[in-house]
């Protein structure tokens, strides 16, 4: 179903709309977690849902993340479609065993007999001046686990489309929400239909492929606008699985690639992007795929986070270092 946005709306509002529409369309859908009821969630993503759909379908749980995910698994075994919220990135860690050993593996364990259409919403990333544990980019911890889908939207309209697709998906989906973009506005209409595992070219370009996702999509587009070469920006949307076709088609055309994310670089998601793009496009590449990432440090305190987060300048620097004059340089690893 499709809702048309009359006026500009925020990503937070688009997510709220997606939940409301899913709840309205499919009575098997449930929304629960910490403070998602009366309060509407600390980011208000579930605002008004409990009042509209009732306490049986939208409710607060006791304060225990393994409990939230573990009971969601049991509910899905019994035919429901839970959409649960982890309040912040670092607070999904207590649920790691339930996610890794059960949510990801029960379908395979049971030869497909147990299907777990569970969505775990995780507000992630920094840039909001949060104190420690409130700004982690934790996608790498989940991307490596077979059986999980991991997705993250970069724009308000896609937040709606992607969340609807995640809720409709028969596989468990870790849905990462770029919290610093919750208040970003757009008047693009809210539509559905983009496949859950498809990357999208947000800006066509001929000289270099800039690969981003979640909070970095907006930063990438801004950098592309300022670059003095013609930058193609790809919004991955789906981190697992990876859309090889869309990305590699682009890189084979441009011959150069940069991947950007907030998480530390060391075995961050960019490592997989660089490795597989190189595997598939090696003879087209004029320079190694550049990674623009957070440093290999714990997330900084609020007053220092600006120094950690990838920004337009760092992206432009990386593009410049792509050996346009074909001299050898070694980017910092």
């Amino acid at each position: 179903m499709t809702a048309i946005a009359t006026e500009p709306i925020t990503m937070a509002r688009a997510l709220n709309q997606a939940l409301a529409d899913a709840l309205a369309e499919d009575e098997r859908v449930l929304v629960f977690g910490e403070d998602v009821g009366k309060l509407g969630g600390v980011f208000r993503i579930t605002d008004g849902l409990a009042a509209r759909f009732g306490d049986a379908r939208v409710f607060d749980t006791p304060l225990a993340e393994a409990g939230i995910v573990g009971t969601a698994i049991g509910m899905a075994m019994n035919g429901l479609r839970p959409v649960v919220e982890m309040q912040f990135d670092a607070f999904a860690y207590p649920a790691f065993e339930q996610i890794t050993s059960h949510l990801a593996k029960l379908r395979n364990r049971t030869r497909g007999r147990i299907e777990l259409p569970v969505v775990i919403r995780i507000p992630y990333g920094g840039g909001i001046g949060g104190v420690e544990h409130h700004s982690d980019s934790s996608e790498a911890y989940f991307v490596h686990t077979a059986g999980l889908r991991v997705v993250t939207p970069g724009t308000p309209a896609d937040a709606y489309d992607l969340l609807r697709a995640a809720i409709d998906c028969p596989d468990p989906v870790i849905f990462f929400e770029p919290k610093r973009r919750y208040w970003a506005k757009s008047s693009d209409p809210l539509t559905t239909g983009t496949p859950v595992d498809r990357a999208v070219v947000r800006r066509p370009g001929a000289d270099v492929t800039l690969i981003a996702y979640g909070p970095m999509v907006a930063t990438a587009l801004e950098a592309a606008g300022e670059a003095d070469v013609d930058v193609e920006v790809i919004d991955l949307r789906s981190l697992a699985p990876f859309d090889d076709a869309t990305v590699c088609d682009s890189v084979r055309r441009t011959g150069r690639a940069v991947v950007v994310h907030e998480a530390p670089g060391f075995l961050g998601y960019g490592a997989e992007v660089a490795a597989r793009v190189t595997e598939q496009c090696f003879h087209y590449l004029h320079a190694p795929v550049a990674r623009v990432t957070g440093f290999d440090i714990p997330y900084p305190p609020p007053m220092l986070e600006e120094h950690h987060l990838p920004n337009v300048d760092r992206i432009l620097d990386a593009i410049e270092r792509l050996q346009w004059d074909d001299t050898v340089e070694f980017p910092d690893a």
């Binding site: 006791p62 409990g67 075994m77 019994n78 065993e97 059960h102 059986g147 699985p241």
Partner: protein, 364 residues
Amino acid sequence: MSTVATPRQQFSRDLLPSDEPLQLIAPSGEAAPGAHLPPDDVLVDLYRRMVLGRRFDAQATALTKQGRLAVYPSSHGQEACEVGAVAALRPQDWLFPTYRDSMAIVARGVDPVDTLGLLRGDWHLGYDPYVHHVAPQCTPLATNTLHAVGLGHAARLKGEDTVALVMLGDGGTSEGDTHEALNFAGVWKAPVVFLVQNNGYAISVPLAKQNAAPSLAHKGIGYGVASMLIDGNDPAMVYAAVQSAVAAARAGEGPTLIEAITYRIEAHTNADDASRYRDQDEVLQWLARDPIDRLERYLIARGLLDASARDHVAVEAEAAASSLRERMNADPKLDPAELFEHVYAEPTAALRRQAATLSGELAQ
């Protein structure tokens, strides 16, 4: 060491358990005067299924020695819990077993060969969970307690009359998930029965190093969950306790925590060496409290079981065992391509490429 269950205790919804484990039939085989026993036909059936269960367990152990199973955790000595609990469930109820509970799964009606799928190792599970309402055997300890609570709560939301019984061990009660499950169940009044089989050990670790509470059942009150402490080698008591807990759950009275005191007669698994951490005397003492002997004495004394009936059950057990042996001796047929089939509803492009690589290798 145990006390006779008064009717009040037997159907108790108290948050605190009795001081001593409740019992309906003493090890001697005598029923306590005035005890509310299950009907005779139920007791006879419990006896039969325990004998079948023990024979199945012995066969599985033998098959492991012959290399037919990767590993086998025996429930020898725990037959009263394995069989008594399952016998109290209705078809629409769900069983959430652990690696230890193969006997319970067979008692639930799953084909023994299918039951042993996980431990045989041709796949992670040999049966369809939805046919007999039996969840996969759970290895990560206590994690399935939360699945049981979720499934039970979902049933209530859907207006279904379903109760979930989850089994765990004394060691499993130390995991955080057990606490979260009891808490969610208490707050939601979920139709769940937690059956803790306290068999004295977590591999080599004795209960005293696991917990300092008067009993594991004393955890219930911290969650507002009704709790019972029972003699886990008394099949009548296990059946009665689970049955009343299931009835209470159906009536909307919420979850029950049952601690059943029993003993693991064999080592943790065939791979374990129990002589490193416990005396054989202890094992002998528990063999003297054997759950099958206990019920057998009772049934014989009550004239509910005679030699021929007993032989009949023994013959049935032998037949089942030899059928199991035969069927397990046939090598399972394996399809490596299946490794890629069930990871997602539809294999991803990358998985299809990897499947092709493997089949290419195998074709050479």
